[in-house]
Symmetry: C2
Subunit: 401 residues, 2 copies
C-alpha cells in the first residue's frame, strides 16, 4: 500500500523514520507493507535518506492511483485544507496531526471522506502519542461523558514546571523552552492557550457529537501567571496548571474553556510535569479514566500517525463515520455557569477580604507587599465574584479545580 507524506517537518520526518525503523512490525500489524512513495515539500533535502521520494507538486500525488494513504503533517489551514480535500475527493484516506484543521473543518472533512469511501483519521492531533481519540470514541462509547479535563499543551506545562520548581520567571521559562526546542519563536499559540483550546474542542466534539468552535471558547493562557501566584498556590498545597475543560451541564450544553487553575497537589493532574500531557475523562459508568504521556515530539506523534495508517491498511471500518456534526444552536457555553472556588490576588487588607468573602482561606507567600492579599473564596459563580471585586485593584483571579 503506497503512502505519501505532505510536509517534511518534525512530525512528517518522524513518520518516515518510524515507517522505516519499525518496517517489519508495521507490516505485520497492518497485514501489508506501507511503502513510502512520495514526500511533498517545497524545500530540498538532498542529504536525506528519503531524498529520492521528494516531489514539489501535489498533483503528482493526487493523480497517482497507487497512493492509498496521504499523511498530512503540514499544519495550518490553507494548503493543508486544500490538499486534504483533494486527496479525499480522489478517494485517498488522509491521516493528520493537524489539530487546527480538525478543529476548524473536521466535520466537513469527515463527511467528505465518508462520501468517497475513505477515512480521515487524527489520533495524533491531541496528546501526541497518547492514545485518546480512539479510546474516547470506542472504549468509552457506552458512557455518557460528564467531563473532560486535561493538561493539553506540553510547552506551557514545561514552563509552569520550571517556574514552580525552580523559581524561573515566565520570560526565563519561555527562553529555556525555546532553547530546548519545545517552544517556537512565535509562542503565542502555546502561551496564549490557543493550542489547548483546539485540543479541548476536538475532545469535546468527539465526546458530545457536536462541533465545538474554538472561536466560541473562552481561552486564557499563562501570560499572567506570576511567581506571586505560584507562591500563594504553594501555601495552599496547589500547583498552577493550564487546563482545558469541557463539562456537560444539565441541559445538554457543554461548558468549555481553557485557563490556568489551582490544582491540589494530591490530584493526579498535579503530578504531570515537564512536557507531559494528561487527560482525565469522566464517564457515568467508568468513573474517571486518565491517559498520560508525551503530548508532543517527533516520534511520539509519528507513532500515533502510523497507528492510524495501520488501521486504514487493516481495512478497519471503525472510523468511516462522521464523529460530530454542526449543531443548530451554539452548544458551548461560558464557564460563568460553572461554580467553583476562586483564587484571588488583590490590593486590599486581610480584613476586607474576610468581610467580603466569609469563609475564605487566607494565603501567604514570602515577600508579599503589605497591601497585597491572596485568598481562596468559597464556591461561587464568577459573576458574583466579579460583582464584589468590580471597583477593586485585582491582580489575578484563577479557578480552583
Amino acid at each position: 500500500m503506497n503512502v505519501a507524506v505532505l510536509g517534511f517537518g518534525v512530525v512528517g520526518s518522524g513518520v518516515c523514520e518510524v515507517l522505516t525503523k519499525n518496517e517489519e512490525q508495521v507490516e505485520k500489524r497492518a497485514g501489508t507493507a506501507l511503502n513510502l512513495k512520495y514526500i511533498l515539500d517545497v524545500r530540498e533535502f538532498p542529504e536525506s535518506p528519503f531524498a529520492a521520494h521528494f516531489v514539489k507538486d501535489f498533483a503528482h500525488i493526487e493523480s497517482d492511483p497507487s497512493v492509498a494513504i496521504v499523511v498530512e503533517t503540514m499544519g495550518g489551514v490553507d494548503a493543508a485544507y486544500e490538499f486534504t480535500k483533494r486527496a479525499l475527493t480522489a478517494g485517498k484516506s488522509v491521516v493528520t496531526s493537524n489539530k487546527e484543521l480538525i478543529a476548524a473543518h473536521g466535520c466537513e472533512l469527515m463527511r467528505l471522506a465518508q462520501e468517497h469511501g475513505a477515512s480521515y483519521l487524527f489520533e495524533a492531533s491531541v496528546g501526541g502519542g497518547i492514545p485518546i481519540i480512539r479510546p474516547m470514541s470506542q472504549c468509552l462509547a457506552a458512557n455518557e461523558i460528564t467531563e473532560i479535563c486535561g493538561i493539553l499543551n506540553g510547552t506551557t506545562n514545561f514552563m509552569l514546571t520550571r517556574m514552580i520548581r525552580n523559581g524561573l520567571t515566565f520570560q526565563q521559562a519561555l527562553s529555556e523552552a525555546q532553547a530546548k526546542g519545545y517552544a517556537e519563536r512565535a509562542p503565542a499559540a502555546d502561551v496564549e492557550g490557543h493550542d489547548s483550546c483546539r485540543k479541548i474542542c476536538i475532545l469535546a466534539s468527539l465526546a458530545y457529537g457536536w462541533r465545538i468552535d474554538p472561536s466560541s471558547v473562552p481561552t486564557e493562557g499563562i501570560l499572567d501567571v506570576s511567581l506571586a501566584d505560584i507562591g500563594y498556590a504553594d501555601s495552599y498545597e496547589c500547583k498552577i496548571k493550564l487546563l482545558g475543560r469541557a463539562v456537560r451541564m444539565g441541559d445538554g450544553k457543554i461548558c468549555v474553556y481553557v485557563a490556568p487553575h489551582f490544582v491540589k497537589r494530591s490530584d493526579p493532574l498535579a503530578g504531570v510535569e515537564d512536557v507531559f500531557n494528561s487527560i482525565t475523562v469522566s464517564g457515568d459508568a467508568v468513573g474517571d479514566v486518565m491517559f498520560y504521556g508525551r503530548g508532543a515530539g517527533k516520534l511520539p506523534t509519528a507513532s500515533a500517525v502510523v497507528a492510524d495508517m495501520i488501521d486504514i491498511a487493516r481495512g478497519s471500518t471503525q472510523f468511516k463515520q462522521v464523529l460530530w456534526t454542526e449543531a443548530e444552536e451554539e452548544m458551548a457555553i461560558s464557564p460563568a455557569l460553572l461554580s467553583s472556588a476562586f483564587y484571588v490576588r488583590m490590593k486590599c487588607s486581610p480584613d476586607w477580604a474576610k468581610s467580603r468573602f466569609p469563609g475564605a482561606s487566607m494565603l501567604a507567600r514570602p515577600g508579599a507587599p503589605t497591601d497585597e492579599v491572596g485568598f481562596v473564596t468559597p464556591v461561587m459563580f464568577e459573576g458574583e465574584l466579579r460583582e464584589i471585586l468590580k471597583d477593586e485593584t485585582v491582580y489575578h483571579v484563577l479557578r480552583v479545580l
Copy 2:
C-alpha cells in the same frame, strides 16, 4: 441486534444496567439497538427488572439465530469455556471480562471466532473500565513495546494503601477489603498475585504476539509484605506496590513476573492509590504512556463490555484477527536475567551488610530490633544476591523499580 448475557453476577448485571440506562447513547454509537434477549443464570431473580429474560439452558441461546452477541461474565474456565466455544461455533460473537479464560485459552478462542466469522473481544478482562486492550493493539501498533508495568489488581492495591497510609496489618487490611466487597471470602487469587499474573500475561501476549502461559510466570503476592517493609520503604522515599511486569530482552524473549516492588514516590505509579489500577506501556517511538482508572467494579467493567458490543454492532473488522499465537519455544523467561537494585531486610549487623554489599543504602525504621537491618543493594542480578545471602536469616527481599 439481540444479546444474551451469561451469568448475572456483578459484571453481568452491570452490563444489563448500562444497556438499559444508556440505551439511547448505545444505540447512537452502535448504529443499531442492542436488545437484551436472554440472561443465563442457574439462580432465580424474580424481583429483577430483567426477570422476564432469564433462562437456565444455554441451548436456548445457542439455537436462537437472532442472538448475535453473547456476553460471557460467568468467570472460571469450565462452563464459560464450553459455552464460549459453542457460541463462537454457532457464529455468534462473544464479549468477555473473563481474564482466566483468555489467559488460558485466548489463542484457541480467537482462532475459533475467526473460523466462524465472529469476534471474540475482551477489553474488560484487564483494567476493568480502563481502555487498554484496544489502545495497545491499535494506537500503539507502530511501536516496538519495550516494557509493560502495571498495578493490575485493585484489591491488593487497596490493601497496600491502607497498610501504608494507616498502619493496618495485612490481616486488618484484608478484613476491611472484604467488608467493603473489594476482596472475596477466598482472596487467594488477589493476594497471591494470580489475578495480576493473568492480566500481565494477556498484555504481554498482546504486545509481543506470543502466548504467555500464566503457569510459567513467577508470581509473588503481598502475603509477606509487613509493616516493617513498609517502614523501610518509607525511609527510602518509596511505596510498596504489587506490579506485573513484562520486559522485552535483547534476544526477543520476554521477562514476565509479578511481585511487590519498592516504587519511588516520584514515580507516577506510586500515586496510584486505593482500588485504582494503572498500566505504563513503553514503546520505542511513543516513550512511556500511562493508563489509569478503576480496575474493577460493576459499572466500570460493564462499560468496557458494552464498548466491545458496540464495536461488534458497528461491524468493526478490527478484532477479527488472532492477536497472539502459541510459540514453539517458551517465550517467557525468569526475572533472574533482569538486574535491579534489591531491598533486603535480614538479621545481621549494618557492618556486615556494608561489607557484603559495597555502596548499599542503609535504611531505618522506628522500632526495628537491634539485630535487624534493612538496606537497598546496588544494581545486581538476583542470583548474585541469593549467593551472598544463602546462609543468612533473610526476612524479605523485594526489587526496587
